[in-house]
């Protein structure tokens, strides 16, 4: 074969993960809306016996949206864009292709196992690390396969320089690998109790404060290396490509990358302020959290400046709307997080609804927006059809933006009210309110959050419908669009 004429990018694996991202996104957000409604209307806890209680469903929500939706989105966009920025097709590497297929099958098994086992109540009881050890082992295999594919493609690349997005994906791979292993060191209680315990229930190999530290070293870096780093990798590719404008400053992107890598790893102890963790370590967590604003805003501002002179695209391309708003929400949550990490603010914010409020302006406005717009950008290139409906994307954008705003504003008010009420004392130093007083006051805000969930899921259904129609019945394209995604 002399010419490359027949050579094409191979999107088989990217398509598979696109399907799972849509499926898990829907399930995860539906559960999110249910648990949000349960907090407002507790009777909803009794819909499905033990399987429908808040305590079963909350970890299921976080796991499905993180490991189902977000990780699928990461894999889908990775298998799409890594080929393109490396200028090499997956079809050129037998290893990558085979490993990719095996990885997807294992992923579906692991994700199904996760949903079933957590519904049944199997859990390690560590946040974002609830899965029991058999699933942990499977995940290690899935992750190693990802590494094999990544480096197989990098090994045969035509583009010698690794585009900045690739750096972020490599960091995702390494960061998660290291921390996942450390945090999931656990022994089944069967072995620690001389046969009394269970083979299916394990306990951490660390104890007490050490366990908490390792847990939040991982926990915060699940935020860093699943919700931030790969999503930054996505926006560095999709926004320039969709707008036809190259990154405003490539040097700034490199600087932000190394800044983020260095600082992010040490912010986790801000989850343990006022706990038994050594004081200097708590302070370190606060300080690193505040410094984190710089590399985060470095990337976000770089993205906004990439649109310089092209702001008209914001009004006529809904995908640009999604991405620009995503980087704006990224700025909001990376300013809000450091504020919450300051000790005196944390004294009010910790354990209150302000925390899930902060989480969701990031995950809804930044993570979900970026994944959906990335998949929208990819769809016409993968399925060779234009996007089914532009009107539907526009409507989805406004509905979901309203949802995000309702979510975080209601939780700001709820959280700060809660924090103030918990610590309010009368002139003799007695607590002024009992717990139920706060619940009564917060009820309307919980109802608003439930409504915001309904709106966000509605938008997600519109996204799913638009994607499915695009795959199956939209107008066929004769040529691959260069920049702007074509839509009817």
């Amino acid at each position: 074969m002399q010419s490359n004429a027949a050579l094409e990018y191979d999107y088989t694996i990217a398509k598979l993960y696109t399907y799972t991202a849509i499926l898990f996104g829907f399930i995860g957000m539906l559960i999110g809306t249910l648990i949000a409604s349960q907090l407002a209307f507790p009777e909803l806890n009794y819909l499905f016996g033990e399987y429908g209680t808040f305590s079963r469903l909350r970890p299921l929500h976080t796991n499905v949206v993180i490991y189902g939706f977000t990780v699928s989105g990461i894999f889908a966009t990775f298998y799409y864009l890594s080929q393109r920025v490396l200028k090499v097709s997956m079809a050129e590497s037998k290893i990558a292709m085979t490993a990719g297929k095996i990885q997807f099958v294992l992923y579906v098994i692991a994700a199904t196992g996760m949903v079933i086992s957590e519904l049944m109540g199997y859990t390690q009881s560590k946040e974002y690390a609830q899965m029991e050890w058999p699933l942990d082992l499977l995940i290690v295999v899935i992750w190693v396969l990802w590494g094999v594919i990544m480096f197989a493609l990098i090994g045969i690349r035509r583009e010698k320089a690794l585009y900045i997005s690739m750096w972020y994906f490599i960091a995702t791979f390494l960061g998660v690998a290291m921390l996942y292993l450390f945090n999931n060191m656990a022994v089944p209680t069967y072995f620690t109790s001389g046969g009394l315990g269970s083979i299916m229930h394990s306990v951490s190999m660390y104890s007490g404060t050490n366990d908490a530290l390792v847990q939040w070293w991982w926990g915060h870096n699940a935020v860093a290396f699943v919700f931030t780093v790969p999503i930054v990798g996505m926006i560095y590719y999709f926004l320039p490509k969709e707008s036809g404008q190259s990154v405003y400053s490539y040097k700034l992107s490199l600087l932000s990358f190394w800044g983020l890598m260095f600082v992010y790893l040490w912010a986790g102890s801000h989850h343990l302020l006022y706990s038994t963790v050594p004081d200097w370590m708590q302070t370190m967590g606060s300080v690193f959290s505040v410094v984190l604003i710089l590399p985060s805003w470095g990337s976000a501002i770089n993205m906004l400046l990439t649109m310089k002179g092209e702001w008209n695209q914001l009004t006529d391309n809904p995908l640009i709307k999604f991405m620009v708003l995503a980087s704006t929400f990224y700025m909001l949550s990376t300013l809000e997080g450091p504020i919450q990490a300051i000790k005196s603010v944390n004294a009010i914010a910790h354990f209150t609804d302000w925390i899930p409020g902060h989480v969701h302006d990031g995950v809804l406005g930044w993570v979900a927006f970026m994944i959906m717009s990335g998949l929208f950008h990819m769809a016409p290139r993968m399925f060779k059809r234009e996007i089914y409906s532009k009107k539907l994307i526009e409507a989805q954008f406004w509905i979901q933006t309203t949802a995000v705003v309702l979510y975080f504003t209601s939780m700001w008010i709820a959280g700060i009210t809660q924090g103030m009420m918990w610590r309010a004392v009368d002139e003799y130093g007695n607590l002024m309110y009992s717990f139920i007083d706060t619940v009564t006051v917060l009820h309307p805000y919980y109802a608003i959050r439930a409504l915001s969930g309904v709106l966000f899921v509605t938008g997600f259904v519109m996204f799913a419908y638009n994607m499915i129609k695009t795959m199956t019945s939209a107008k066929e394209l004769t040529e691959e669009p260069q920049f702007r995604t074509p839509m009817a």
Partner: protein
Amino acid sequence: MGIRELQGYATFFMTIVFVVILYGYIVYLYRSEKKGEKDYEKLGNIALDDEITSTPINSSNSILDEKKGEK
């Protein structure tokens, strides 16, 4: 010297070291462009010009092409 004092010195010197590394990196980025050794900004085009058939932005890693040629 108590642990507190030690921590104080360690923090002070580490801060200086990291600031030097950070600024050193910035200077390195700009200087290597000025000297013409590197052109970072053109790498931004990797995302825009990403057809499999288009010429790589940075000189190619030719192993694959050579293999192709042999066949």
